[in-house]
Symmetry: C2
Subunit: 238 residues, 2 copies
């Protein structure tokens, strides 16, 4: 087995694990708010909605922060995960596109409380310049470069219509943004080294609809138990 120096903990955390770390962080915060100082992997897994084997496996990628026979110190583990994710310091963020969704994002308190500071709201519609949203003035989209360099913005949020998304992404990348959260219903392409995550409300609903439809089929079959589960035709084509 290979160990590393203490200053740089062992690494390459699987993507699936990275995506769950914020969930664990939130669950630990909820436990702390209820005055709980120590928890087992079973407790935390329940609070996070995963099974405890997966939780322990995930945490094992970060290091060895529990005590056998005892469990985890809530505050200590919380700090370690926050440090791992990088939310122990502040991240300046710009939001482009201040429609209904941009409005909601600007007002979302969960950003600020988790280390994300909205340094600017940008909109292509100059009519909106100066309007205050969540206490932050809306500025022209063309101010992007100036703002990004002034605040060293690395993370941008796109909340524009689909048609504008690629242009906004290009401008963001040119301005030095290297991580983009895209709410526009469009696929955007970015150079190597730039991360894009996509949140698409109607896609989520469509995934639910698919499963909903299958449930309906299941019920239909329940009502016709004479239909075979697998009406197989061996060797049949198509």
């Amino acid at each position: 087995m290979t160990a590393r120096t203490s200053s740089e903990s062992a690494r390459v955390i699987p993507e699936a694990t990275v995506a769950r770390l914020p969930v664990y962080l939130r669950a630990l915060t909820a436990l702390a708010e209820r005055g709980i100082r120590t928890c087992s992997s079973e407790d935390l897994a329940a609070a996070a909605g995963v099974n405890s084997a997966k939780l322990r496996k995930d945490l094992s990628y970060l290091g060895s922060y529990g005590t056998r026979g005892v469990g985890y110190d809530v505050d200590y583990l919380r700090y370690q995960i926050a440090r791992e994710i990088g939310v122990t310091h502040d991240w300046p963020v710009v939001i482009v596109g201040i429609g209904n969704l941009g409005h909601a994002l600007a007002n979302y308190s969960g950003f600020r409380s988790r280390g994300f500071r909205v340094v600017a709201l940008l909109d292509a519609d100059l009519e909106r310049t100066g309007e205050l949203v969540a206490g932050v003035p809306v500025r022209p989209f063309d101010d992007l470069e100036a703002i990004a360099s002034e605040h060293s913005v690395a993370i941008g949020v796109i909340a524009t219509p689909a048609a504008a998304a690629q242009d906004v992404a290009d401008r963001m990348v040119a301005a030095g943004v290297t991580s983009i959260l895209n709410f526009a219903p469009a696929v955007i392409s970015v150079p190597e080294g730039v991360d894009v995550r996509k949140v698409d409300l109607s896609i989520e609903l469509q995934i639910l609809a698919y499963h909903e439809q299958r449930k309906a089929h299941e019920h239909a079959r329940d009502e016709h138990p004479d239909l075979p589960e697998m009406p197989a035709v061996v060797g049949g084509d198509q």
Copy 2:
């Protein structure tokens, strides 16, 4: 090999594939709007942002809707995917919690255009009853059961604060909702057979922050090429 009757196409589509079908559907719609009648797996994969091998594998779970040497008929494939997902007919949806996010969701045109019909907006704050949002009146949360049974609502959207989410979910399930899209930053538990999908804005940002932080480390190392890539201590403990 086993084939099925034509009325019920072969099945059990992997989750990862199901999650991409709406992406393909949207890409096909975009191609159709550009007047494109036929496309290769390479074309469609590019439009959807995946590689073509994955696309073909995904489509193969639905059936055999392409023509070797030619490609796919855009409209035909679009219909087949829409049918598979279940968005050829309308799904009535209720949205609970009409804050900033609920507002944005109610106004989101992408729902209606993809077969989702918002039949009611509900809010626990009775002060808001009667307010029109996107042309739909806000109603008291207690109307949930009546509305759900009147419209046979199977899909519910939670856009409340975290503290209310579990209660809303319980009431939805009791009212016959079997699929929930949860925007509240809380883990909700539901009985077997109910599907929950979760969209969490700050979790997405935290995942980006993690990768952003790693990029910063990479750069730091670039500037200190004398640091070994893996300062390994073989046999060291921890």
